[in-house]
């Protein structure tokens, strides 16, 4: 039952747990400790997932639920003990949206390109949408529209290639795939962004 | 069985009296007569009684009943040769009962006594290491099996002396006037007992008598073996007097020192167990 992948995974999980515990010991800020403890919960799930059976898959869900409820209980305690009664004015003010939108968007876009096709476009579009949500969208829509138009042209060109020069089918498939990726990506990126300036 | 229960209670109270007497004599005081604790119990049962106005009434009364009940159960477990784990579970539950005594009245002194009884929870950890050591030898935790093992292989006291020492520490931490009795320290008036007066205190004394009897009996049974009742009583008395010597000659530790000493004892026991396992 125990092969080397399990051992390696276990080793990595233990290393991650050690790192997390070490950071938990070093950290003094209560809020950051709460977040680090959440990190520990994720490693816990990794331990369960390593078993790699249907049963393990079924056990992850209760583990996750318990972890989240503990996290919520602790957050409530934190709010109460710090006396934080005011509702935040801007609900969508998450730290990662200031610090790392570029990285997360890039990861999503690259993953989308690897997937290709409709689903790839959706993933990549989500990445771009995330980027716009974080950074605002003043001049970028024009650029996206241009890209979308060019992609559409490419798609048409690919169809013509299929019909006129069928021996270059591979080139046509690749062109169409890339084009549809960019097209869907562009359309997805427009979801939620309103035209007519920032005050709409 | 009823007779045994009642006589165990009185024997336990008598032993507590002997404990006080021995301590007093070592400290060059005359000390109370040895039946003082029995008189205490009777005296308290004749005193006027009510429940304090601020108390949580049900809990205030229920913990007294539970306290006597669990030690009755422990006595039956020991005499009938049940599982050692049940006995030690009850030993730990006694902590909760003390906690309940302290918190239920609303008194600040009782509360601190109760909180201290929870702090001194370290005293239980050597107990479980002791159990593990016993299990490695006997492969059973049923008291009758342990007794049978000792009848064949000789007392466990000689085969696992460190476990016996840990058990001795555990007994010591439950003896009054001992170095670990931080719950009864005088700056807390009477600790968790402060508000349980009159009849409730008499119940508490009955519980203490039973507890002393059961713990001493169990220690003799687990580490030396089963003997006729007079020999058991003699061995228990010897054990008690040795405990009294320690209590008389050592000062009460501060709460954190007490915890530290018990933690060190636990660490030592864990090392010992690991050594046993590695050698086996």
């Amino acid at each position: 039952m125990m092969d080397w992948t399990y051992s390696a995974g276990l080793f990595i999980a233990f290393a991650a747990a050690g790192t997390a515990f070490w950071s938990l010991v070093k950290e003094n800020d209560d809020l950051h400790r709460l977040i680090l403890v959440d990190l520990l919960e994720v490693i816990t799930l990794a331990f369960i997932a390593l078993a790699g059976t249907d049963l393990a898959e079924a056990l992850i869900l209760p583990g996750l639920v318990v972890g989240i409820s503990e996290l919520m209980a602790l957050s409530e305690i934190y709010l109460r003990k710090e006396g934080l009664r005011n509702q935040p004015r801007n609900m969508l003010r998450i730290e990662v949206m200031d610090s790392a939108p570029g990285i997360i968007a890039a990861v999503l876009v690259v993953y989308g390109i690897i997937l290709t096709g409709f689903s790839g476009g959706a993933v990549a579009g989500l990445g771009i949408l995330f980027y716009f949500t974080c950074k605002g969208h003043e001049e970028i829509p024009e650029l996206v529209e241009t890209a979308s138009g060019c992609a559409w042209v490419l798609w048409i060109v690919a169809f013509f290639t299929f019909i006129l020069l069928p021996q270059y089918w591979l080139f046509a498939v690749m062109t169409a795939g890339t084009a549809i990726l960019i097209k869907v990506m562009a359309k997805m990126a427009l979801v939620g962004t309103m035209r007519g300036g920032s005050d709409v | 069985m009823i007779g045994y229960l009642v006589s165990a209670t009185f024997t336990g109270l008598l032993m507590l009296g002997i404990h006080r007497k021995v301590i007093a004599r070592i400290q060059k005081r005359p000390g109370p007569p040895i039946w003082q604790e029995i008189l205490h119990t009777l005296k308290f049962s004749f005193k006027s009684t009510w429940v304090p106005a601020t108390a949580s009434r049900t809990l205030f009364i229920a913990v007294v009943l539970i306290g006597i009940g669990i030690w009755c159960a422990a006595l039956f477990v020991v005499t009938e040769g049940g599982s050692v784990l049940i006995l030690f579970g009850i030993y730990m539950l006694h902590k909760i009962v003390e906690h309940g005594y302290g918190l239920s009245s609303g008194s600040p002194y009782g509360k601190f006594g109760g909180v201290r009884s929870v702090i001194s929870a370290t005293s239980e950890i050597p107990l479980f290491v002791t159990i593990a050591a016993i299990y490695l030898f006997t492969h059973s935790l049923i008291i009758s099996d342990i007794v049978a093992y000792q009848a064949v292989h000789g007392p466990l006291l000689l085969s696992v002396p460190p476990a016996a020492v840990a058990m001795y520490l555990v007994l010591l931490s439950k003896m009054p006037y001992g170095p670990f009795s931080i719950v009864e320290s005088k700056e807390l008036v009477s600790g968790y007992k402060t508000e349980h007066f009159g009849v409730w205190r008499a119940g508490l004394e009955v519980c203490n008598g039973l507890k002393t009897y059961v713990l001493l009996y169990a220690a003799v049974l687990i580490f030396i073996g089963q003997f006729p009742i007079w020999a058991m009583l003699a061995l228990m008395l010897a054990l008690l007097v040795s405990l009294s010597f320690v209590c008389a000659l050592s000062p009460m530790l501060s709460p954190y020192d007490s915890v530290t000493v018990q933690t060190l004892a636990t660490a030592f026991m864990i090392v010992y167990i690991i050594a046993l396992v590695v050698m086996a």
Binding site: - | M1, I2, L5, F44, S45, F46, K47, S48, T49, W50, V51, P52, A53, T54, A55, I61, V64, L65, I66, G67, I68, G69, C72, A73, F76, E80, S105, G106, S107, P108, Y109, G110, V189, T194, E195, G198, V199, W200, A202, G203, V206
Partner: protein, 67 residues
């Protein structure tokens, strides 16, 4: 609580103990059942015996708050 109530509860607990003991000796119930009865009834008996002897009708007081 009135003295009569305490007496009634005490006698009930004592009767339960004696009944369980008799039944066990006669072999009607197993030993562990008798023990269960003792574990429940003995504390009740002890406390209510003492309460029957002395339960003051005095006024409830606040806890001890220092000398």
């Amino acid at each position: 609580m009135r003295r009569e109530t305490a007496f009634k509860v005490m006698s009930a607990a004592a009767l339960a103990c004696i009944a369980a003991w008799t039944a066990m000796i006669a072999g009607w119930i197993p030993a562990f059942a008798a023990m269960a009865v003792f574990i429940v009834a003995f504390p009740v008996f002890v406390i209510f015996l003492a309460l029957w002897w002395m339960y003051s009708q005095g006024k409830e007081d606040i806890p001890f708050i220092g000398y």
